[in-house]
């Protein structure tokens, strides 16, 4: 039982770490991979907490589909956070 709790605690810490990483990271592609990692760990957690249906949904939608849609979006827009301000100087002036 105690090992189970330690495992869940470790997974939760990993989730928080991945979330902080994806916020701090300036390279948006890496940030998207960070959000994918959150979903992956969350689906493992759902499986451990005996919700296999939700785990399957989270793995399919959170890890695969959302990540891919974000990657397509990055491919069509800009990859680095700073480029947004470089490309459109009017936006920085407005702020």
């Amino acid at each position: 039982m105690i090992y189970y709790l330690i495992l869940i605690f470790f997974l939760l810490l990993l989730m928080i770490g991945a979330a902080i990483y994806s916020i701090v990271q300036k390279d948006l592609l890496y940030a998207v991979i960070g959000t994918g990692l959150i979903s992956l760990v969350l689906s493992i957690l759902f499986l451990l907490l005996q919700a296999p249906d939700v785990a399957l949904t989270e793995a399919a939608i959170g890890v695969a589909l959302t990540t891919i849609i974000f990657i397509i979006t990055i491919k069509n827009t800009v990859r680095f956070e700073d480029e947004v301000y470089q490309k459109k100087p009017s936006k920085t002036e407005a702020k």
């Binding site: 249906d53 785990a55 399957l56 949904t57 399919a60 939608i61 891919i68 849609i69 397509i72 979006t73």
Partner: protein, 233 residues
Amino acid sequence: MKMKKILVISLLAVFGVYLAEVLFKLDFGRQFFQQGVKDFYLITSPIKLQVANTVTAIVVNFRGFDTLGEVTVLFLATTAMGSILYKGRHQLGERTVLFSGSRIVTTGSRLLFPAIILLGAYVFIHGHLTPGGGFQGGVIIATGFLLMLMAYADYTVSHVVLSVVESLAGITFATIGLLGMLHGGSFLQDFLPNGSLNDLLSGGIIPIIYIAVGFKVGAELTGLIYTALNEKD
């Protein structure tokens, strides 16, 4: 300007008061919570409905109308994204994936593609026996198509076929609901024989609805990915 704000706030306040009144007056399943609605589901779904997976029994049978709403929400979301991205009916932009993958990637994708489709079909056909269901299976199928679209630069899916499949699946769902209305009296009433526990053909209308949902979700998300990949900035 200030008058307008006061007007809006007072309107919202009136609306909120009425909403709160209605919500407080409703006895939101109070008697059921005291008896334990989970016990009702856990006892009824294996014994009366002959469904092994209680989650599926709740999602499709007890809360079938909510699932129809959920499918509608997904449909509207994909339609909205498609209408934003889709530039013209006959002039698609250039693909974001401009080159094919290496030979290893293409061969691996071609080998994996049928296996992924099979897994998705398994997940939604066996939705009432094992964890999973229409939504999960549909997303897995869409992921398989995504793999092919990423590996091959010239891989295409037909939007016409996708829309036909999607519409037929939606019509099947609604028709089964209306048939239940004809037989039993309420929308999505279970009118088919339930069979025996752990059989593939058991659970009444649940397998049919989940197969329809699986096709619908798979077609919708494949179309969404295809449109997003073909989008030109």
